[in-house]
Symmetry: C2
Subunit: 131 residues, 2 copies
DNA sequence: CTTTCTGCAAACTCTTTGCACTCGT
DNA sequence: ACGAGTGCAAAGAGTTTGCAGAAAG
């Protein structure tokens, strides 16, 4: 046997899959603890790594803070609000796959891509204006 | 007076500006030390922050390792090789500005964007094939 | 039973910071 | 000479890891 199915792994995946807010490892830990009170942060980190290696979860590295996790596997883009730090999903542009082809012609092997927009989200933009 | 022009700040900017390989803070430190032997890593970090705040340098946060710095201010995309960790510049797609407009219509205030492709660069792709 | 996984705590990496001193202006 | 900037070393955040014991198959 190679990989075991543990409560900790299942719960970690369930939390990331249910989340729609790109949680950090610490967020995931807090949420998993609601079900498994004794799970440690180290285990959450190990299981997140495992899920990423299995391709069931993706890492989103944006901004100066911690890595964030996402079980949305369909290609999509992100918007990061520099005021509230919230990351929202954007539906993917149609134009993008074309660029991959041109890179492949130049000898690159492209396995992934991310586009992130930065700025102020509508909610924070409104709040800023009214202050 | 507000900001002073120190040897350390000048040298830090000169190194980033001359670099074409997206150096980490530690890289920048090593290179600046060739001219100012007593400069500390903390000072390099503080000066890199200052340059970023001034808009003379950009931070590139890709991959699990440290932040990397770039004085190339024209819009461009990145390719990160997952084997050798090298980040290369790609000329920017023409299609991208269009998407910003559509985000603005939805209430986002867009101040920046990055697109990164992941995979294997031509050199590593060749090396892998021949092994 | 065997081997992987876990909890815990310590270690590690990257970055920031407090303090006394230095150096631009 | 005033105060922003510096070097140094210690502290912080985020993440990884060694180990002894727990538990999946």
């Amino acid at each position: 046997m190679r990989e075991r199915q543990t409560r900790q792994l299942d719960a970690t995946y369930a939390v990331v899959h249910a989340a729609h807010d790109h949680p950090t490892a610490e967020h995931v830990h807090e949420r998993v603890q609601q079900r498994l009170k004794r799970i440690s942060l180290g285990t959450v980190y190990r299981n997140l790594q495992k899920l990423v290696a299995q391709g069931r979860v993706r890492v989103v590295r944006i901004g100066p803070r911690s890595a964030r996790f996402d079980a949305m596997l369909e290609p999509h883009e992100h918007f990061m609000c520099e005021i509230c730090d919230e990351i929202t999903d954007l539906s993917s542009a149609v134009a993008v796959p074309i660029r991959r082809t041109s890179l492949r012609r130049r000898g690159y092997n492209v396995t992934g891509q991310t586009t992130t927009f930065f700025g102020t989200c509508p909610r924070c933009a409104r709040a800023t204006r009214s202050n």
